[in-house]
Symmetry: D2
Subunit: 339 residues, 4 copies
C-alpha cells in the first residue's frame, strides 16, 4: 500500500532540529531522514555525518529540488517559520512546523492559506498533546468525566542556563508560553480565549530587566464561557524541567505532569528522593516521536493532522495579547491584537 | 506557675465556633471552655449541652462579667469581628479572632489599636500556618533552601453546597481567599504586596451571576521585589476540600497540600484510589488545635502570638484590592485601597 | 455521668512509658496521670517532675494502695508484663498493657484469666490498629472491597542505634515483629495462623551473630485458609522508621504506610525530596493517643476493648513459632508451641 | 560499517512472540523481521500478514536455510527453548531466548555450551533489567548509594484470566517467578543464592488445588552473605499487572514499580484515582524494545550481552529449589537441585 518510509527533510539543525533528525533516523521506522538543510557552514554535514543518514544542504531550495523529499520538518529560528511553511507548500511538500508557526497573525494566516491552497498537510509541534498525561486528561474530558472546565492551569519551567543573546522581550510568550496557551485550549476544547492579563519580570536574571528581557511570567486567560486559565513560566528551576497541567471541571480535576524521571525512589539519610526530569527532550522523548508518527499518518491520509495551523494561530493570538498586556499594564482582549 | 487550664469563652456557635468549642472542651488540656455566647435563641445552650461544658450566654456582655473567662475565641459572623475584638480588649480579655479580623481597613486598625492599648494578646485564625506541610515549607524558606521566592501559589477549593443567602459579592475574597493571601505572605516573609489583579465569576452557580455573587476567582499578586503570587478559589470541587500551596524560589520548589485523607491506597478494578479530604475541619483538625495551643502559649507569655492583627490587616488589603480589581476590570495597587 | 477524667498510673517510665505519661498528662483530656511507678532510683520523680503531674512511686504496691488510680498502663520491661497484669487485676484495676503482654503462652493465659476473673478491662498496645492507614484498610476489608485476602505483608524497620545489651535472641520476634504478627491477623480477620517459617540473621551488626542476636528477619505465616503473610523486620533503616502493610485480596489491594513526615515536597538540585518519619513516636503519635482514648472508653463501658488479651496471645504464638523455626531451620506449626 | 538492520527470525508466534515481531517490524529500526516460524497451521502466515513483513515458515529448519536470517528470537513454549537455542547455535545464528531458557539444569548447560562452542551471542529475556525503575535502582547499587543489600523483594501479579490447561504445577516458579528470581540476583550483584523456602497454593482458583496447580506463591531466598530475598507471585490482581521491587541496604532503600499507567491523576467524587497498568506488554513495552536493541548491539559486537545464559541458569536453580521446597515442605538448598 505505502511505498516504504516517508522521505523527510529537516530544515534547521539546532537543538530541536537535531532531536527530530535523530527521531527520523533512529526511532521512527515509518519515516526516513533524506536530507538536512541549514545555512550555517558545516551544520547539516555534521548532523548527517553523526546520524549516518541524509544529504546535507545549505539552502532550502536544494530540498525543494530533491525528489526523495515527501515532507519537511521546519526547525529553523522562529521568525523564519512562516516563510518556510509557505515555501514548502509552494513546492508541494507536507510540512511539520515547530512552534511557533509564526510570530505575527498575518504570517500565521499566510502559512495556513498556503498549505490549504497547495493541499499539503500542515501540522504544528505542540508536542504536549502527545504526552501520555495530557492525552489521558483530554480523554477524560472527551468522556465527560471532568464536566465543564472552570479553572485550568499550565506551566513550564526550564532548567536554566538560558543565553541572553537568544532571548527577546517576547520570547517567554512566543516560544515558551505558547505551549501553555495551546495546552489551555487543548484542555478546554472549543472554548475561545477572549481576554488576557499578564505580569512578567526578569527575576532569574535581574540584570536583563533594563534590556526589557523577561524570564518569569504569569498569564491569566479568560475564556468566553467564563472559565479561567493560568499559564506560568520561569526560565530556571533548580530541579530541572517542569511541565504541569491541571483542569478543574464541574465533574472533577485532572492533574498532569508528574516530573519524575522514573518510578524508582531512593530512601536514604536525607529522606525520600525521586530523580526529576532534566530536559524537555528527556521528558517528552516519546511525545516528540509520537507527533512525528502522527504527521506520517496524516500525510498517508490515515488521520487528519492532530494539531493544525489554526491551533497555532489561536495560541499565537493569546501570546501576542499577553505581551501587549505587559507593555500596557492592563488586561488586553484577544480581539485587540487582531489587526 | 500556671494555675491550670486557660479559661476561654466562645463568641459565636456556628460551624467553626462549634469546632473550636470541641477543641477547647475535648482536645486541648491546656485550655478549658468556660462559656459560649450566641445571640441566637438556644444556640449556646445546645452547644454547651452537647459538650457537657461551659455556661451558655446570649449576650457578649455576660462574657465580660464572667470572672473565669481569661480569653475569648471570636467566631461570630465576619462583619462583627472587629467590634468584638475591640470589646474584648476593653474588657481586658485576650482574643483569638477567626479570619477575617475585619472587613474594612479602618476596622482592622481599630482592632489592632484596641488590643495594643489594652495589652492583651490578639491572634488571628490563619490556621494553615499551623498545618504540617505549610510549616515545613516555611522552615525550608527560613533555612535558605528555597532561596528567593519567584513564583508562589495558594489555592482553596471547597466541597460545594454553599448557600447563596450566605454569600455576598466579596465573600470569595474576604472569607475564602483571605487564607490564600495570608499564605502567599507567609511563604514570602517580609515581602510587600503592591498590585493585585483579579478575575472572578459565578461558574458553579451561573444563576448567581446576576446578583453579583462570585464563586470562582483567580488573583495575581505582585510583590515589591517582583515575585508573583497566584491565589485561586472555587466554591465547589467534586472531590472534596482542596488546599494547596507552592513556592518556586531560586533554590528550588516546595509544594504543600497532599489532599489525601490517609496514606492508605486501594488498588481495584477502577485503578488506584486514594480517599480525599472532604472538609476543612477534617484536613486542618490538627492545625485548628495547634493554633489554639499557640494562643494559650502566647497568653501565658511563652511565645509571641504567631499570627498578628497586622498580618490580618495586610491580607485584608490584598482582598479589598482584589474585589476592586474585579469591579474595575484592571489591576489595582494595594495603596489604592488605603483610603 | 462520668466523674471527670480517668485516673491512670503508669508502671515503668522508660522511653515508651514516658511517652504514654505525656499523653495522659497533656494530650488526653479524658484521662489524668495520677502516678508513675518505677523501681529505678529517681526515675518516677524525674518524669512526674517534668510533666508537673502525678505522684512518684518506686513500688507497684504503692499504686495498688492509691485510691485515685482507676487503671494502669504497663510499660515495664516485657518480661515483667504478665505479672503486672495479674497484680493489677488482683487489685481491681483496669489494665492497658504494652506489647508483648507476655513472653510465654502460659503467662499469657494467666494474664487473660486474671483480668477475666477480676472483671477488669484488659487492652494490649498494638497501636498500629489505631493508625489511620491501617484503620482505613480494615474498613475496606469490613466493607468487602478487598474480598478474601490472599497475600499479606507487614514490615517494621527501626532507625538503628540499637543497644546490644538490650537485645536478646528473640527480641526481633517478641518485641518488634509481634506488631507485624498482630497486623497480619488484623488484616485477615478471623483467620488462624497455622504454620510459620522464619529466617533471621545479624546483618546490621554481624558481630552480634556469635552471641545469637538477630537484627533482620523474614517470617512467612500460613493461615488455615491458605492465605500467606510475610512479616519482615530490620533494626536499621538509614531513612528512619518505616512501617508498612499490604493486603492483596480477591477484590483488590490495600497498601498502608506512607512514611512521609508531612505532605510537603522539596524539589531541588538533587531531585524531589520528601522528609521521612524518624521514630515510632513521631509516626504513631496519633495512634498512641487513640489507643489510650479507646482504653478510657472501654473502661467507661462505652465500647469493648479493641485489642484483647486473646489478640496478644495469638500474636505471641506466631512469634514463638518464628523463633523456633530459626532454631530448627524448618517450618514450625503454631500448635507445636502450644505446650 | 554495519550493512543495514539485523535480519531476525521469530520462532513461535504466540502472545509474546507476536509482540516481539511487532517490535522488530515497527519499533526497532536497527532490526528487521525477515521470517516467522510456527508449526501451528497458518499462525506464521497470519502474523506476517498483519505486519506486512517477513516470510512465514512452519519449520525451524526453513529458518536455518534462510540466508537473510542473522539471528533468532525464541518465543516458543518454554519446554522447547533449550533445543531451539542449541539448534540456532548449530546453525550459526545468534539467539535471543525468552525466559525460561530451559526447564532443567542439564538443558540450561546444553544451551550455554552450544552457544559458546558456536561463538554466537546468547541473550535471555529478563526484560525487567531494561525497565527504567530497575535500571535506576541498579545504578544506585553500582554507585554504592544503597550500601550492602540486606532485604530484597520482587513481586509479580498478573491481571488474571489464566487458562488452567496452560498451567502446570511448576509454572508459577518456572515461568512467572523466574523473573523475580533474576531480579533478586540483579539487585544483589555477585551474591549467590544458597537456600530457598517456598509456600504456594491455588488461592485464585481453589478448584485447581486437586490437580496440583498453584497460582499464588511466596518464596524466601537466602544468599550466601546472609541477605534475604522474598519473591512473591499471584496469578490475579483485580487492578491489573503489578511488578515491584525493593532493596534495603545498609545505605538506604530503593523501590521500583510505580504501577501507574500515566502520571495523570483524576480527582472525582470517589477520591483520587490513577489508572493502573493492565498488562506486561503495556508496562514493559519500552523494556521489551530495549532488550532487543541491546541484543542487536551485542550481535554487532558493541557491548556484551547484558543477560547471559549463566544468568538464566542461576534463576532456574532457584525456581527448581522453590518447586522442590513446596513438594518437600521444608527449605531446600540450591545445591540439592544440582543432581
Amino acid at each position: 500500500m505505502t511505498a516504504g518510509p516517508l522521505g523527510v527533510a529537516l530544515l534547521g539543525s539546532g537543538r530541536m532540529g537535531a532531536f527530530h533528525a535523530q527521531t527520523l533516523a533512529r526511532r521512527l521506522p515509518s519515516a526516513r531522514l533524506v536530507a538536512v538543510a541549514d545555512p550555517a557552514q558545516g551544520a547539516a554535514e555534521y548532523l548527517t555525518g553523526v546520524l549516518g543518514a541524509g544529504r546535507a544542504y545549505t539552502d532550502a531550495a536544494q530540498v525543494w529540488d530533491d525528489p526523495e523529499v515527501d515532507a519537511v520538518v521546519v526547525a529553523a529560528p522562529a521568525r523564519a517559520h512562516a516563510d518556510l511553511v509557505v515555501a514548502a507548500a509552494a513546492a508541494g511538500r507536507h510540512v511539520f512546523c515547530e512552534k511557533p508557526m509564526a510570530v505575527t497573525l498575518p504570517d500565521a494566516d499566510r502559512a495556513i492559506d498556503a498549505a490549504r491552497a497547495a493541499g499539503v498537510v500542515l501540522q504544528v509541534g505542540f508536542n504536549r498533546r502527545f504526552a501520555p498525561d495530557w492525552a489521558a486528561a483530554r480523554a477524560l474530558l472527551d468522556d465527560g468525566m471532568l464536566g465543564t472546565p472552570r479553572l485550568l492551569r499550565s506551566l513550564t519551567r526550564d532548567p536554566g542556563g538560558f543565553v541572553p543573546a537568544r532571548v527577546r522581550p517576547d520570547t517567554v510568550f512566543l516560544e515558551t508560553l505558547i505551549h501553555d496557551f495551546d495546552t489551555l485550549r487543548f484542555l478546554h476544547p472549543g472554548a475561545e480565549a477572549v481576554e488576557v492579563h499578564a505580569v512578567a519580570d526578569a527575576l532569574v536574571e535581574p540584570a536583563w530587566r533594563d534590556r526589557g528581557l523577561l524570564d518569569t511570567a504569569v498569564v491569566v486567560v479568560r475564556f468566553a464561557d467564563g472559565a479561567m486559565g493560568v499559564a506560568e513560566a520561569c526560565f530556571e528551576a533548580s530541579y530541572g524541567y517542569d511541565v504541569r497541567g491541571e483542569v478543574l471541571g464541574s465533574g472533577g480535576m485532572a492533574t498532569m505532569g508528574d516530573g519524575r524521571r522514573t518510578g524508582m525512589v531512593f530512601s536514604g539519610p536525607g529522606g525520600r528522593v525521586a530523580e526529576t526530569v532534566r530536559s524537555d527532550q528527556e521528558l517528552f522523548a516519546g511525545a516528540y516521536t509520537a507527533e512525528l508518527a502522527a504527521f506520517v499518518d496524516a500525510v498517508r491520509g490515515r488521520t487528519p493532522p492532530p494539531v493544525t495551523g489554526e491551533d497555532a494561530r489561536a495560541a499565537l493570538a493569546i501570546a501576542l495579547a499577553a505581551a501587549e498586556s505587559v507593555r500596557a499594564g492592563r488586561p488586553v482582549r484577544t480581539d485587540e491584537v487582531e489587526k
